[in-house]
């Protein structure tokens, strides 16, 4: 589940040493701390992808600093050490680590393990820490998986996307159908407790039957977590150009809605419960704790080119290019490109837009009078559930989940 949109927001500059305002660290002990580690390399770029990722193995930054796939782990470990300095005497152990990309498994398993080790050395890992990596079905084998497991990884997420060859082809995915399901079994055999499969629906040319087959195949493989995303055609991608030229049809929003309902039906029948708009798990323990940090306003440090961080109301993001990123760290500077200090109102709005996507919903106490009136209307329109509402929470119904953004626009008033 590649996390990083390619366009960076506007913001104020980050100080060269990466220092945070004192307010950001106030009360930190009460918030969990996570790490996101970005690996910006892929073997090939997929036609729908607009994430910050590169297919070249070597990229040169200013001052001739070489950012290569081979020394990438060392560069990233430099940022983990910088994080230690910036967070100073913050006593927290790390609760979650998530390695995403790009394709993290293009790096040697030992690279991923070394990065994790650096976090353990600098911060300490909680005993029950969740440690996840994304993995490409074609770039792992039992030995690789075993090495990750031995190194401390306990959760793995495979990009399956679809069970149909023709759909994978439109997405430029190179793996063969069946391979991701086999990966689940290999991961289980290697001792991974938690396994996720990512699916994409609404790809041009995908039929209802294709989607049903993908859901059935994913469920049949036995993961404890499934993420299902409507295909977003981002401007500037190869797929967007192909759609504009009329080579492939654009999928209608109503088709997306139908496919989403199919996913909900099929997954819930198989024992998966939704806990965020696009995420389902077989148990509370199967939920992705790291992602929940994002959704609940917790702190995380995002290391790597273009990675976003959040600590106590300060959001910042790193320079995008791996060369520029490596150059900054080589000079002992923060690779931060910009940041924003959230106002109380920004934080209130963010809580509404993030928490409304969750199964627990938003406390009505966060809403102002116009927002409350909007919530009452949404309740009457069948977009919010009655029981949680009665106990003071706005929780989306199934139909409401599909209209979450529209509901948010009204609730923030």
């Amino acid at each position: 589940m590649e996390h990083m949109p390619s366009a960076l927001p506007d913001g104020e500059p980050v100080p060269a040493d990466g220092a945070l305002p004192a307010s950001a660290l106030a009360g930190a002990a009460d918030r969990p701390l996570g790490f996101y580690l970005h690996v910006p390399y892929c073997a090939t770029r997929c036609g729908y992808c607009d994430f910050n990722t590169y297919t070249a193995t070597e990229l040169r930054g200013s001052g001739g600093v070489l950012a290569s796939r081979d020394n990438y782990a060392d560069t990233l470990i430099d940022e983990i050490r910088l994080a230690r300095k910036v967070l100073g005497d913050d006593p927290r152990e790390v609760r979650t680590v998530f390695v995403g990309g790009g394709t993290p498994t293009l790096l040697a398993a030992d690279d991923l393990v070394r990065m994790l080790r650096a976090i353990r050395e600098e911060f300490g890992l909680a005993a029950d820490a969740e440690v996840t990596t994304e993995a490409n079905p074609e770039s792992v084998d039992p030995a690789y998986l075993a090495a990750l497991r031995a190194g401390g990884f306990n959760r793995i997420s495979f990009g399956m996307q679809s069970a149909r060859q023709h759909v994978l082809k439109v997405l430029d995915r190179t793996h063969t159908p069946g391979r991701p399901e086999a990966c689940v079994a290999e991961a289980r055999a290697a001792g991974f407790e938690h396994v996720n499969l990512d699916l994409i629906y609404g790809t041009p040319g995908e039929s209802d039957d294709d989607w049903r087959a993908s859901l059935d195949a994913a469920i049949g493989a036995g993961p404890d977590h499934v993420s299902a995303y409507a295909l977003i055609v981002e401007e500037g991608t190869q797929l967007a150009r192909r759609i504009r030229r009329g080579e492939v049809p654009m999928t209608d929003d109503d088709v997306h809605a139908d496919r989403y309902l199919m996913a909900e039906d099929t997954l819930s029948a198989a024992g998966f419960d939704w806990y965020e708009v696009s995420n389902w798990a077989t148990s509370e323990a199967g939920r992705c704790l790291h992602n929940e940090l994002y959704w609940r306003g917790a702190d995380w440090w995002g290391a790597g080119p273009g990675a976003h961080s959040h600590v106590g109301g300060v959001r910042w993001w790193n320079v995008k290019h791996p060369g520029a990123y490596a150059a900054a760290l080589a000079e002992g500077r923060s690779p931060g490109a910009g940041r924003e200090l959230l106002s109380d109102e920004d934080r209130r709005v963010e809580r509404i837009l993030l928490e409304l996507r969750l199964e627990e919903g938003v406390p009505l106490a966060l809403l102002r009078s116009d927002g409350l009136a909007a919530a009452r209307r949404a309740l009457a329109d069948g977009l919010l559930q009655r029981e949680p509402y009665a106990s003071g929470r706005a929780v989306l119904t199934l139909r409401g989940r599909l209209l979450a953004d529209a509901v948010v626009r009204d609730l923030v008033d």
Partner: protein, 622 residues
């Protein structure tokens, strides 16, 4: 260098026998302003180096569109070629060139004894020129037919001399041929004006009577009133009386234009000039009114006075509701100089606060709207133009409807709509398509005449409402631009008219209501409903879009409820972007107009009300 005439008679002391009052009747681009420029030069009133093209057209907007809206009068001294010692005074009265200003044209003509009929030698006479020619003939004016632009390669002087001779009733050889651009033939024309146009005749010792033929607001001097003295004499510093209202004013200044204003001691019989009284509003100095002296003034006004009557109405709304006070101020300012412009505040549930504005016609509407947008920097939404209906109920009560949404409910006995007599001039190959167009617009053929072998004049009675609906654009496109149109109001007729309402989710949208003939109601409804379906984004609920006559639905489309409005992914790197997107969407939402519970983007109103392919759009481009 033009010869400067000697012994130029002074205003107030000019023998009427030496005066010639004339105007120029011409189509928009047939060269009237250029001809006027040449006359200014030849008579020496404007020095060569001060000359600029279209000297007399004051407003930029006129110069740009190549049209003349406001008339003026210029006093030109001219010594005829064969009588050099006898300097005459030629008052050239400029006439408005457009259909909407027929009444002003008629007053300008009434100030003259003769007219120069100026026609492009490459194009022949156009409908509006013909209409004004008929008007001049009715006023018994002496007509001097002139072909202009004879230096053009495309000129056909023989053909069009024939055409003019037929219309005027003269010999083709009597048609003067000039080039206003090069000046060729213009001296001969001035000589002919002296020779053929009668001198004015009036009673010198009678109480003063002067007719107002134009009235212009000037921000420095207040209203400048242009008059033609019929009887008696007006003198500086006397008190004068407007005979239609009885209002009296002190004459602060009296004078003539050469072409700039020059004050004088007075104006005598037959003379043309200006008055300044210090009034600030052209309504206090109305075209057609009679000016007399307060002391021992005339008992009886000159005939022909009419109050300007708006024929076409449109709702004007600021795009940004907070511009409403600016719009009011701008209309107030324009009204100072435009006695025909009327407006009153109106509120639309869909468009907010605005004004219902009455115009003489479509060009008038266009010019006002353009000036509001250009000179006052306002962004406006204009509702589709409509005419004034008279609705008589079964109980005998009567309603005047200037806004379709005010069309009365209940038992209607008769509906009256204004009709016009339309004159269309076009090459004869287009007769079929013109007739077809007029038939679909409920026209009744009055007659048809060939002006020459291949040019025809077609006369129809048409409901004004049909002309207001993009008729001119259609006519132009069906005749490859060759047809010209003129129309004059001729009264009213009863018609089977109905009001078509547009309902969004059951709520009427007042701005889209229209009055149409019952046979056209269905087509109107279907078109508008389809258009709205395309323009209004899907809402959280299903929105029926209906066209209805009373409670009877005649067309329906459904905007399906939106089922998906959620981004699939929202992780750590998406949050800032998503919050900013939300802020942007909130801004966009503020620009939506709420119609009941339906959010309608402003663009939908603009597209439906102003685009040419929309149902009932009436934007004219004359």
């Amino acid at each position: 260098m033009p010869a400067i005439p000697s012994h130029v008679p002074e205003p107030s002391r000019t023998d009427p026998a030496l005066i010639r009052n004339f105007c120029i009747i011409a189509h928009i681009d047939h060269g009237k302003s250029t001809l006027a420029d040449r006359m200014l030069q030849l008579t020496g009133v404007v020095e060569q180096r001060q000359m600029r093209a279209q000297y007399l057209d004051r407003m930029d907007i006129e110069r740009e569109r190549g049209i003349t809206i406001k008339s003026q009068a210029v006093r030109l001294p001219w010594a005829p070629t064969d009588d050099k010692g006898n300097t005459h005074i030629l008052n050239m009265i400029d006439t408005p060139g457009h259909v909407d200003f027929t009444y002003e044209v008629s007053r300008s003509l009434a100030a003259c004894e003769g007219t120069v009929l100026l026609v492009d030698a490459a194009q022949g006479i156009e409908a509006q020129t013909l209409a004004n020619l008929y008007l001049a003939m009715e006023n018994d004016l002496t007509i001097i037919p002139v072909l202009n632009k004879i230096d053009l390669p495309a000129a056909q002087p023989e053909k069009f001399s024939e055409e003019l001779a037929n219309l005027v009733g003269c010999d083709p050889d009597d048609v003067l041929k000039v080039s206003a651009k090069t000046g060729l033939g213009v001296e001969a024309l001035l000589d002919k004006v002296v020779a053929e146009i009668p001198a004015p005749v009036g009673v010198k010792d009678a109480p003063a009577r002067a007719m107002i033929f134009d009235s212009v607001y000037d921000s420095y001097r207040g209203v400048v009133t242009y008059v033609r003295v019929i009887d008696g004499q007006l003198n500086k510093r006397e008190r004068i009386r407007m005979m239609s209202t009885g209002a009296t004013h002190e004459l602060l200044e009296i004078g003539t234009n050469s072409p700039e204003m020059l004050s004088a001691d007075g104006l005598g019989v037959g003379e043309v000039g200006y008055l300044i009284t210090g009034v600030k509003d052209v309504r206090q100095s109305k075209v057609g009114d009679t000016v007399t002296s307060q002391h021992k003034g005339a008992e009886e006004a000159l005939g022909g006075y009419k109050d300007p009557k708006p024929m076409v109405f449109s709702g004007l709304y600021p795009l940004d509701g907070s511009d409403y006070p600016e719009l009011r101020e701008a209309l107030d300012k324009l009204q100072l100089n435009d006695a025909a412009l009327v407006y009153e505040p109106e509120t639309s549930a869909a468009l907010g606060f605005g004004f219902r504005v009455g115009f003489l016609g479509l060009l008038h509407l266009d010019v006002i709207r353009e000036r509001l947008e250009r000179e006052f920097g306002l962004d406006l939404i204009a509702t589709a133009p409509n005419v004034v209906y008279r609705v008589v109920m079964e109980d005998g009560s009567e309603h005047t409807v200037t806004n379709p949404s005010e069309f009365p409910e209940g038992k209607i006995d008769e509906v009256y709509e204004p009709v016009v007599r339309a004159t269309i001039l076009a090459p004869s190959e287009f007769i079929g398509s013109i007739m077809e167009l007029c038939q679909t617009r409920r026209g009744v053929l009055l007659g048809m005449d060939y002006l020459s072998e291949d040019r025809v004049e077609i006369r129809y009675t048409l409901p004004l409402a049909e002309i207001v609906f993009d008729f001119f654009d259609q006519l132009k496109s069906k005749t490859r631009g060759y047809a010209s149109l003129d129309y004059e109001p001729t009264g009213e007729q009863t018609s089977s008219l109905v009001k078509v309402d547009i309902l969004l989710h059951g709520d009427k949208v007042d701005a889209f209501s229209a009055i149409t003939h019952k046979d056209q109601a269905y087509a109107y409804g279907v078109r508008l409903v389809a258009k709205l379906k395309e323009l209004i984004p899907r809402q959280a609920f299903e929105v029926p879009v209906q066209a209805a006559i009373g409670s009877r639905v005649i067309a329906r489309e459904t905007i399906r409820a939106i089922r998906k409005d959620v981004l699939a992914k929202c992780y750590g790197g998406d949050i800032s972007r998503k919050r900013k997107l939300l802020e942007k969407q909130k801004e966009g939402k503020k620009r939506m107009k709420m119609v009941g519970s339906v959010e309608v983007p402003q663009e939908a109103f603009i597209a439906v009300l102003s685009s040419d392919d929309s149902a009932g759009s009436g934007k004219s481009k004359k």
